[in-house]
Every structure is written in structure tokens, then in C-alpha cells.
């Protein structure tokens, strides 16, 4: 973090520093666009494999250029704005959705040598660089802010369309975001507790010491539960199946983007898949040590970091596609039940347990006792919650009987 601050203070707006900055922006922009193109192809290919089909195979080798062809087609289609639409907001919404998706990636460390306690910086062109666009001290909060902002695009798109199904989709989007952002934030808090920092670089560094290279990763260190909660909440945040109620075709035509066509529609599409890529990258950073992995050569450790990072992200991309091919869509009340009655209490309980363990470390208490008491507390809390839910349900049923006979 100190190196980053020094870098910011010594930043010279008239020198090569600016060129570097622009080059980084262009590089990330290009890589993200290409990754989206490949992601769409990857998803279609894997889903078709899981359904015993061939999938896209005409454009380019193995149909790899299919997304490009689709994009060009969309580009030449007519751009319609419905009569009932709020024209300004209608046109603004796709960008509101897309730009946060880009910005989110800025804090992800994509490469670097983190083995043996190194901090992942490289010396290129006489400068000490981190292989991420920025490493602000508030780090991962930027991710939370951007994923919250991205929902505005979806919400406003539905609202500004002046049509009922998009409106329903956007109402669902905002309700879903409110429900799952809490669980997402609570599982993130567990990560902050162990790394002691919000900076993504620091978070990666804090995961590097452990047995067998992978022992220090947060997914193990925090006991799986925060990771599982994060994965589920992230899937909901991304509006991906099985949580894609926002654009449930069978119920809402196309959901929030029903009225969009041409390039504006493709912007939503782009944002959606870019969010998938970014969310996978964030998940790798938070729970799987980012670019951390064994470095097998003496020099060029950063490239190994890039390789490990890429492989880890690929696993999560596959997981998201796997979810889509396997799980049917949740009903709306199931979605809310899962978010409010399971994920949030569990995330909260686990966060308190981790906090208690941290206190036990400082105070010198017996760990086993703390874990036993903590788990018992979570269990009792769960029982209480279940009882309260059942009681509420019974009361509601009784009042309905009284009311309607």
C-alpha cells in the first residue's frame, strides 16, 4: 500500500507516467472485451456440451467468432425507443450498466509473483508496478460500490422503458440486489477480518503463507462458509441462473431489456458477461489467492501469476456455466427465503465466530472451546430463527382462517 501511495504522490502528469496509465486502461479495456467475447462462446459451447449438442460451429474455428458475428449483426439493427419511454434515462441506462462492469476490474491483481512473501510488484521500464490498474486503500469497497451501481442500470432500464414487464424485471432486480448485497458484504467482512486490509494487493499477500501453496487461501482459512455464501450471493448479484428472475423469459419476456434493441441491447449483454468475468476474478482474489501459485522458473514470476490467475478464473467461469446448465430457476419467494432466512443469518453467525476466534487469539483463550461455544451459538440461533419463522407462518395462517373462514 505504501508503494502505491508513493507512486501516486510521485505521479507526474506530463511524463511517461501518463502514457503508462493510458496504456493500462487500453489494455484492460481490450482484454475485457475479448474475454467477454470468449466467455459468451465458452458458455454456449459448454452448455451445448452438457446438453449433447454441438453448439455454435460456423463462424471461425469451433465457432469461436460467433459472438463477434452476433455483435456485428446487433450493430446494424434498428435502434428503437418506445413511445412510452423516458428517453434520456432509457438511453443512459445501458451505459450505467456497462461502465461499473469495466471499473470493477480495475482493482483486480491479474499477475505478479506472490510466492515466498513477495508483494507481487514488477520492475518494468524503471518503475515499480503492481500488475493491476489501481490499488486504492479502500480496494474492495470499490467493488461493492460498483456492483451496487451496476444495478442502477438494470433498474432504470426497466423503469424508463415505460412497459410493464421491464418494470417488473427492474423491481425484482432491485429487491434481489438489496437481499443479496447484505450476504455478500458479510462474507466479505470475514475476508477483511483475516487480511486486515481492504486493498486487494494486501488481501492477496495475506493469503500467501500456508502449507502446499494453497494452505493460506481464504477459502480454507475462513472455513468454506464465507466462500459458499459469496458464491451464491455473487450468482444472485450477476442475475445468473438459477437466480435470473430479472430476465425470466417465461414470465417477463426479456425482463428489464425487453424494449431494448440493437447496440443498446448488446451493451447490456456485454455488461452482463463482463460482470461474470469480473466477479470470477474478484472471487479468485478474495478466496483463492489471486495470482498466487507456485513459480517454477527463476525469472518471470509474474507470468506464472498470470497463468494461475487465468486458470482459477476459468474454473469459476465454468462453475457459473455449470450452474446454468444444472439448476432450474428459483421461484421468487424461494429466492427471498434463501437470501434473508439462510444466507444472511449464516453469514452473520460465521462472521461472529471468526471474530470470536480472532479475539481468542489475542486474549489467549482455548480455541476449541471458542469454536464449540460459537458453533453451539450458531446452532441455537438457527433454531430460534426457525422457530420464529414457523411461528410467523402459523400466525399468518390463523389470521387468514379468521379472515376468510
Amino acid at each position: 500500500m505504501i508503494a502505491q501511495q508513493a507512486y501516486l504522490e510521485s505521479f507526474d502528469w506530463t511524463s511517461w507516467d501518463l502514457l503508462f496509465l493510458v496504456a493500462k486502461v487500453v489494455l484492460i479495456f481490450g482484454v475485457l472485451l475479448v474475454s467477454v467475447m470468449l466467455m459468451v462462446w465458452f458458455e454456449r459451447k459448454v452448455v451445448s456440451d452438457m446438453q449433447n449438442r454441438i453448439g455454435p460451429n460456423v463462424a471461425g474455428p469451433w465457432g469461436i467468432l460467433q459472438t463477434l458475428a452476433d455483435g456485428i449483426k446487433l450493430f446494424f439493427k434498428e435502434d428503437l425507443t418506445p413511445d412510452g419511454a423516458d428517453r434520456f434515462v432509457f438511453k443512459l441506462a445501458p451505459y450505467l450498466s456497462l461502465i461499473p462492469a469495466f471499473l470493477m476490474f480495475a482493482i483486480v491483481p491479474v499477475a505478479g509473483d506472490f510466492s515466498d512473501g513477495k508483494d507481487g510488484s514488477v520492475s518494468w521500464f524503471g518503475q515499480d508496478l503492481f500488475l493491476q490498474f489501481v490499488d486504492p486503500p479502500m480496494g474492495i469497497l470499490l467493488f461493492l460500490a460498483m456492483s451496487g451501481l451496476g444495478i442502477y442500470g438494470v433498474m432504470l432500464a426497466g423503469w424508463a422503458s415505460g412497459s410493464k414487464y421491464p418494470l417488473l424485471g427492474s423491481v425484482r432486480a432491485s429487491a434481489q440486489m438489496v437481499s443479496y448485497e447484505a450476504a455478500l458484504g458479510l462474507s466479505l467482512a470475514a475476508v477483511f477480518l483475516s487480511s486486515g486490509s481492504l486493498s486487494t494487493n494486501q488481501i492477496v499477500q495475506s493469503q500467501t503463507d500456508g502449507p502446499f501453496f494453497i494452505g493460506g487461501w481464504n477459502v480454507f482459512g475462513l472455513g468454506f462458509i464465507p466462500f459458499v455464501i459469496f458464491l451464491i450471493a455473487a450468482t444472485a448479484e450477476l442475475n445468473r441462473p438459477p437466480f435470473d428472475l430479472v430476465e425470466a423469459e417465461q414470465e417477463l419476456v426479456g425482463g428489464f431489456h425487453t424494449e431494448y434493441s440493437s447496440l443498446r441491447f448488446s451493451l447490456f449483454f456485454l455488461a452482463e458477461f463482463m460482470n461474470v468475468v469480473t466477479m470470477s476474478a474478484i472471487m479468485v482474489t478474495l478466496f483463492f489467492g489471486g495470482p498466487h501459485g507456485p513459480v517454477l522458473t527463476d525469472t518471470g514470476g509474474w507470468a506464472w501469476g498470470l497463468l494461475w490467475f487465468f486458470l482459477k478464473v476459468l474454473v469459476f467461469l465454468f462453475t457459473f456455466v455449470w450452474f446454468r446448465a444444472t439448476l432450474p430457476r428459483l421461484r421468487y419467494d424461494q429466492l427471498m427465503d434463501l437470501g434473508w432466512k439462510i444466507l444472511i443469518p449464516l453469514a452473520l453467525g460465521w462472521f461472529l465466530l471468526l471474530g470470536a476466534l480472532r479475539v481468542a487469539e489475542i486474549e489467549g483463550w482455548n480455541r476449541l472451546v471458542v469454536v464449540a461455544v460459537g458453533l453451539a451459538g450458531i446452532f441455537l440461533g438457527g433454531l430460534l430463527l426457525t422457530g420464529a419463522i414457523r411461528n410467523a407462518r402459523l400466525t399468518r395462517a390463523e389470521s387468514e382462517i379468521l379472515e376468510y373462514g
Binding site: 459448454v46 456440451d49 452438457m50 449433447n52 449438442r53 454441438i54 455449470w322 444444472t326 439448476l327
Partner: protein, 229 residues
Amino acid sequence: MGYLEGFAVTFNKLFEERVTGEYKAKGEGEKRDKPERFHGRHVLNRYEDGMEKCIGCELCAGVCPARCIYVRGADNPPDNPVSPGERFGWIYEINYLRCIHCDLCVEACPTQAITESKLFEFSFTNRDDAIYTKDELVVGDDGMPQKLPWEDWRPGDDEHTSGWMRATSPGGSVAYQNTVSWSGELGYGVRSPEMGQHEPDPEPVPAGGHGDTHDDHSDHHDDSGHGGH
């Protein structure tokens, strides 16, 4: 753990054989054979002597659920008749932007004038091409459907255009198996019935022949049950 079993199912599918094949566009190679009674683009048939079968009765237009057929009949000119009988199909148009290939027109036709080929890939590029006129629908002098420039004909698509008609027992009655109840066609003559739809009736078992059959058919077919299927 029902959820996780589902993940195993989809994952194992990754390594299974594909059930779909490559799409072969025009000029890229063979396609898999189409079913015998495939519903494709229509043809208007002619008798063996070259006369048109259509009598302009408009039953096809009447039965069409998509309202895609437009027919107008006219009296045959006495000196140069188009069809045997009083009337003929003067205008005959099918709008393929509407047609759903349900084959009801084929069932309705009293003279087997309209049947369907197996062609389904005819991607016209304007609305005029979408409306097939009688000149385009009627079979040529060799009895084959006309092949228009935008149509992707494959071997076999133009044969057995009367697939549904040739079903030997359209009512499901075995008694009509192998019974020809349709007229001849230009270039083909009287087409043979489509075989192999019903198990042939078991032949009367000769006396004393029971001992030869060692299969586990405990109930032999009743010979008197012709119409009972």
C-alpha cells in the same frame, strides 16, 4: 443432496456422444435422410397423361388453419381442358410466410392434387418469392417438383411427395394395409403403398405346429380381430 446429483449429471454429459449432427448448408454435403412422411414444400400433382389433378374445389383453402392458400377455380375450356372433369384450379397460391406445414390441405384434397415434398429449406429473400404461384407449385413434365433458385433440394426430397397418402392404413385399420386408394401420377404411375406400418397378421397356425414355436408368446393373436386394432 439432490442438488449435487444434478451437477454430476450435467458434468457427465460433457463426455457423452452428441446427438445432433453438423448442419450441412447448400453444397456442403449430405444430410441425414428425412422421414417418409415429412411435411415440406407443397407440390401440385398431375395425372399420368399430364392433366392436372386440381379441380379448384377450394377445400384445401377452406381447411387451412393458417389461411395461407388462395384458390380460384374456373370451368375447363372444352377444346383444351386442364384437368379431367368440369373445373380446374385457375389460380393457386400458397403463402409460405404463413404456412405451418400441417398437411391438412393434403388430407382435405379429394383428388390427391396437393401433396408435400420433403423440402424445408427455401429461404426466399422477399415477399414475392414467399408466395408460390401455381406455375411454381405444379410438377414438371417429368413429374418432378420444380426446383427454384433459392431452394436447397437434396437427393430424395423430390421423391415420394405423396408420403402421407401412401400410408397404407391412414385410419389405423390393418384391414386396409397394402390397399391402393390413390390415383397414378405423372412420371411415376401408381405409387406403391408404404410398407411396414403394422405387424402383418399372424398366419393361421397349422395344426400340430404349436410345438415348433418355443418363444414366450403365451397369447396368440386372434385371427378374427382384424378391425380391433
